[in-house]
């Protein structure tokens, strides 16, 4: 297997706080890679560093060989890395469909002129985008809410909409920041099925999740962060037996 995402020696400090220290990891094409650790361990910081929100102090990030560090967020997305958010960050005043359409921005090109002149190419692209966006909403099971404002959707559906919006950009790697947070067991099961199905279709997933059962059952490999340091990496079996992981994070629960 080849590395789709290669993170090497990434460090990031905020003032005196070393949020990420020399983090290196590889996510292989086609796998589900988990990122776990206690609150404040630096998981979301790593996501922000990968997606161009933070400029990293040291290190290098490559997706399919292309340097991502130093890129702006929209360039990272265009390179094939899309994400969702721990605290849902939809465009609240736009409909579910429009949210997904914004996700297609990087894969479309029409300008205003084309829209004004109603050029065939523009109309085709718009129709194609709408069809794909509807298909994605159907995919995550919220097609019935297409015309509702995002802020009026139930919580679980908002989480699903975030996934659909991220998928709209046709990513090679989808980074999910606690997608199951606040979901009930039935919703978690549906999410799990969706993620496995996406993997089956060739998508690579990077997953931050606190639900240990979900992570252990879903991930092919995972890395554990603590205080901005990677303390373990490997298959769920290996990681769950690692003494330092048990001490820092899993506690007695996993034993």
């Amino acid at each position: 297997m080849s590395a789709l995402l290669a993170v090497s020696g990434v460090s990031k400090a905020f003032g005196g706080l070393q949020a990420l220290s020399d983090i290196s990891l590889q996510v292989n094409a086609g796998e589900i890679f988990g990122l776990i650790g206690p609150n404040g361990a630096g998981k979301t910081t790593l996501f922000n560093a990968l997606t161009g929100l933070y400029t990293i102090d040291r290190g290098e990030v490559r997706l399919n060989g292309t340097r991502l560090d130093g890129c702006k967020p929209h360039q990272v997305l265009k390179a094939g890395l899309a994400r969702t958010f721990q605290n849902i960050r939809l465009f609240a005043e736009m409909t579910a469909l429009e949210n997904v359409l914004v996700g297609r921005h990087a894969r479309t090109h029409s300008g205003v002129l084309g829209a004004v002149l109603r050029l065939p190419a523009t109309r085709r692209e718009e129709a194609d985008s709408r069809a794909r966006a509807m298909a994605l909403l159907e995919r995550v099971g919220i097609a019935g809410h297409a015309r509702r404002l995002a802020r009026n959707l139930p919580y679980g559906d908002q989480r699903r909409l975030e996934i659909a919006r991220a998928l709209a950009s046709e990513p090679a790697l989808l980074a999910l920041d606690e997608p199951a947070a606040g979901m009930n067991p039935a919703e978690r099961a549906a999410l799990r099925d969706l993620l496995l199905q996406l993997q089956h279709e060739g998508l690579t997933l990077l997953l931050i999740e606190h639900d240990v059962k979900l992570v252990m059952g879903l991930c092919d490999r995972l890395a554990v962060l603590d205080y901005g340091i990677k303390i373990a990496e490997g298959t769920p079996e290996v990681v769950s037996r690692d003494p330092s992981v048990i001490a820092a994070y899993l506690g007695d629960e996993a034993l």
Binding site: K72, F85, V102, A115, V116, R165
Partner: protein
């Protein structure tokens, strides 16, 4: 002559111009929460550039139809204003995007002083009159008069507003603008080149300003290097009246302000027993601005609603 109907027509025409300029203020505010105080000066530049072209063509090619001459004026004024808007954004605002909010406000005022003085150097201090190239038709309806120019202003404004609403609601750029207005950060993470979208917003606002500048100079028959100041302030008041950041609000606020001014000017003499005359017209815009800020600071339709158009 029916005074009420006449003031209604005058007010709607004036209000259309205010609305077009107000749209520029409100679009920029909606997307980056900046009051672009140089916007009135962009309108002034549009008027003066168009007048220069129109004047030259009227002299040089007297046989040309007036509408064509006007179109030529617009055809130069729009790109000049768009370029000016883009330049202002790039030089005066973008470097201060993350600075305290007072900083870009000060550069905005600086830019507007620079533009006024630039215009004074190019066109001089005197009033420039609009060459008599336009159709001078004048029609009577129910005792009031309406001219070709007024009809053209009303029709063009309605078309532009409809186009703008469609653009914001239905197109890729419109969606990106609304997304950027709601969260610059998330929009960029979803693949929107935020700098480009912001620049596009300035470009569109400046194009509207060019059209409004030509309209107002055609309507009053005059243009002047200082005209952007008062026009800008009034359009800003209109945007605040409707709810700054809200596209529909700018349209409504512009029309209402035009009507308030027009009716105010028409009736103020009667109401004060002749003590105050119609030249107090300008008072109304600022009276409205103060009243809105005191009683309904978020405006009639509420603030920050480019996403609601």
């Amino acid at each position: 002559m029916d005074i009420f109907l006449q003031q209604l027509i005058n007010g709607l025409v004036l209000g259309s111009v205010y609305a077009l300029v107000a749209l520029g203020y409100t679009m920029v505010y909606g997307i980056i929460e900046l009051i672009n105080f140089a916007h009135g000066e962009v309108t002034m530049m549009g008027a003066l550039v168009a007048l220069s072209v129109i004047g030259a063509l009227a002299l040089g090619m007297p046989g040309l139809p007036g509408v064509l001459i006007l179109a030529a004026g617009l055809a130069l004024a729009i790109p000049v204003c768009v370029a000016l808007g883009l330049l202002i954004e790039r030089v005066a605002y973008r470097p201060l995007r993350n600075a305290p909010r007072l900083a870009p406000l000060i550069t905005a005022i600086g830019v507007s002083i620079v533009l006024q003085n630039l215009a004074m150097l190019i066109w001089g201090k005197q009033y420039i009159s609009f060459p008599p190239v336009l159709p001078q038709g004048r029609y009577e309806i129910l005792g009031a008069h309406i001219t070709d120019v007024q009809i053209a202003i009303l029709v063009l404004t309605v078309l532009i507003m409809l186009g703008l609403i469609l653009m914001v609601q239905r197109t890729r750029l419109g969606r990106a603008m609304r997304a950027t207005a709601q969260s610059r950060q998330v929009a960029s993470l979803m693949g929107v080149d935020v700098n480009r979208v912001i620049a596009s917003t300035f470009a569109i606002g400046s194009a509207l300003a060019a059209v409004a500048g030509v309209m107002v100079s055609a309507y009053y028959g005059l243009a002047h290097y200082y005209m952007g100041f008062m026009l800008g302030l009034k359009a800003f008041s209109a945007a605040v009246l409707g709810g700054i950041g809200n596209l529909g609000g700018a349209m409504l606020g512009g029309l209402l302000l035009g009507l308030i001014e027009s009716f105010g000017a028409g009736y103020i003499g009667d109401l004060t027993g002749g003590f105050l005359g119609s030249h107090y017209q300008d008072v109304f815009a600022f009276f409205v601005l103060i009243a809105v800020l005191v009683f309904r600071p978020s405006g009639l339709l509420g603030a920050r609603g480019i996403e609601r158009a």
